[in-house]
């Protein structure tokens, strides 16, 4: 059962619960929604303890219905209203202090004030609500703060409200807006759990630039800030944004690789750089085979890959031969919505991001070394690996939480959010250990996390970047040396291979749902 507690000072029924059930039904059928009115929060506080997610969506005009009039008549100042609102929010936040789960907090909105009909589009109350939202963004710690006004903008002010609902039962928002709100809550659920494709595989001709490189040459392709090349540069800007938020990039193009690299290195309109790309697989072979090669080189599952191409033929061919790969046909009108299949955190450690890309890039050198060395043991020795396992520092919590969300292969199936890790870290009988790895080619940074309680392994996550060099065995050995006897294990098709390894080290597997 997944419990979602929704706290508000107004009503979102009858639409929100049904919309949430519908949104979450894509991946789970066990959602239970508890609607808690703000004024009843104290007496219903105990119900929050069982919640898996808390959503706060407060309505400003319900709290301050006369704000515009009182400000105009100088009965109250902007500062007084702002302080009162911030204090009320802080009191609510403190009531949620003991609950170590994901908290989504939607900001206030002022679009429902009807002053625009007479005063035009000047900011309502001189932007007071925006000021309060800005202050809340910094004041509220450890919550995901979301812009409710953007949801209203998406559906349109004319479609966001229900006068009938507002007058009847203080339910001012429309069914359409409730649907968008539910979709956003579900998206944040996916983001918190790292349920996102990992790798974006891109064609080049008529995707990253206009034209066909082999025919038009580097001078003839369209790519720039205006004209026919603008759409492609804007798309590259978006792809760069995805990369900055942790998406691994690969290029799969029917071209000579040297020609493609020349564009990346020399064309002034390129926003994407060679260093942003983990893997180039450019030749004249069928793309399905190349995507398979990318999957193997990067050690990323096909189901974690998204392939973008402007050719219906190529997209259909990959879809037919590699059905696990998500395929997207590049069309300038729909490409951004199509890439909404990615669910990305806004805060990503850029140092880790860069390390991740460099690791993949240096895999080429590791592959060459592997070919040159005799046995696997000799290869491992010549890698000159340095494995550092230490008690997790508070400064590493966000990064290791992200790791548990991203790992699919070498994991016991447990995923923790930052809040959950902090909660467990506070327990005296629970220990977290961070795993860092480097070798002669690059520093891979944080590659794993181990969580132990008493003699049980509760959390075991190792990045696929570290696989293939027996690091997983050394981590199990470390846990056994720390007296681990059992491991909690949620079996998936991707992590079943770990069973024999754990059994080899005498760790008893306890399977859970």
């Amino acid at each position: 059962m997944y419990e979602l507690a929704f706290i508000s000072n107004i009503h979102f029924e009858p639409y929100l619960c049904a919309a949430l059930m519908h949104a979450f039904s894509k991946t789970r059928k066990d959602l239970e929604v508890k609607v808690i009115q703000y004024e009843n929060l104290i007496e219903r506080k105990a119900e929050l303890e069982g919640a898996d997610m808390i959503v706060v969506c407060l309505n400003f005009s319900d709290w301050y219905p006369n704000a515009q009039i009182d400000l105009a008549q100088r009965r109250i100042s902007r500062q007084e209203i702002k302080e009162a609102a911030l204090v009320r929010c802080e009191i609510l936040r403190r009531e949620l202090n003991n609950v170590k789960v994901q908290i989504l907090w939607f900001g206030f909105e002022d679009d429902e004030y009807p002053s625009a009909a007479v005063c035009g589009q000047s900011p309502v109350m001189e932007g007071l609500v925006d000021e309060i939202n800005q202050a809340l963004l910094w004041q509220l710690k450890d919550v995901t703060f979301l812009d409710f006004k953007k949801l209203i903008a998406q559906v349109g002010i004319g479609n966001a409200y229900s006068l009938k609902g507002r007058l009847r039962w203080n339910a001012p928002y429309s069914k359409q807006l409730a649907g968008l709100l539910a979709d956003e809550i579900y998206k944040q659920y996916l983001i918190a759990r790292g349920r996102t494709p990992k790798c974006l595989v891109l064609d080049c001709d008529n995707v990253l630039w206009g034209g066909v490189l082999a025919d038009d040459g580097i001078e003839g392709i369209w790519l720039g800030s205006d004209g026919l090349g603008r759409q492609f540069q804007e798309f590259q800007r978006f792809v760069k944004f995805l990369w900055l938020h942790g998406v691994i990039l690969a290029i799969c193009s029917k071209n000579n690789q040297e020609d493609i690299l020349r564009v990346f290195r020399e064309h002034g309109g390129m926003l994407l750089k060679e260093g942003d790309v983990a893997c180039f697989q450019c030749n004249w072979e069928p793309k399905a085979g190349n995507i398979l090669a990318i999957s193997e080189r990067l050690n990323i599952g096909l189901a974690d890959m998204v392939f973008v191409d402007d050719s219906v033929f190529e997209v259909e061919a990959v879809k037919a031969q590699l059905p696990e790969v998500r395929t997207v046909l590049y069309q300038k009108e729909t490409i951004y919505d199509s890439l909404g299949c990615f669910h990305l955190r806004t805060s990503v450690d850029q140092h880790e991001n860069l390390l991740r890309t460099k690791t993949y890039q240096s895999n080429e050198k590791r592959a060459i070394l592997r070919e040159q060395t005799g046995s696997f043991e000799e290869y491992l020795e010549s890698l000159d690996m340095k494995l550092d396992i230490h008690e997790t520092l508070d400064s590493e919590v966000a990064r290791v939480a992200e790791l548990t969300q991203r790992t699919n292969k070498c994991t016991n199936g447990t995923r923790y959010s930052k809040e959950e890790i902090l909660g467990k870290k506070a327990l005296t009988d629970y220990s977290f250990y961070t795993v860092c790895l480097s070798d002669r080619f690059s520093d891979l940074g944080i590659v794993g996390i181990l969580g132990m309680c008493d003699k049980e392994i509760d959390l075991f996550s190792l990045s696929c970047r570290a696989l293939g060099r027996k690091v997983e065995e050394r981590l199990i050995e470390f846990a056994v040396n720390k007296k681990a006897k059992r491991i909690q294990f949620v079996k998936t098709p991707k992590n079943e291979w770990m069973h024999p390894l754990l059994e080899k080290w005498g760790v008893q597997i306890t399977e859970s749902a």
């Binding site: 029924e13 009858p14 009938k164 009847r168 039962w169």
Partner: protein
Amino acid sequence: MKSVTMGEVIEVLNAAGELSLTEEQKETDITELGIDSIAFIKVVVALEEQFDCEIPDSKLILSDMNTLQKIYETMDALYEETMGRDNLSA
């Protein structure tokens, strides 16, 4: 507005209110079965969507619509009133 039958009212009430009422329970107080103000909102909106009508705000008091019989009578009266108005205007 569409015509109103007891069967349809039961169906709507059971679906929106997550109940399992039968016609024999038409005098049962639904607030004692768990229908609170939030569930009442869902029931009202479902009735309006099912019968393609708007229930006057003056009728939307839970204590006045707290049994299957009362809900049916309210909807039936609304239908009669609507048909009467339509006939007059025709």
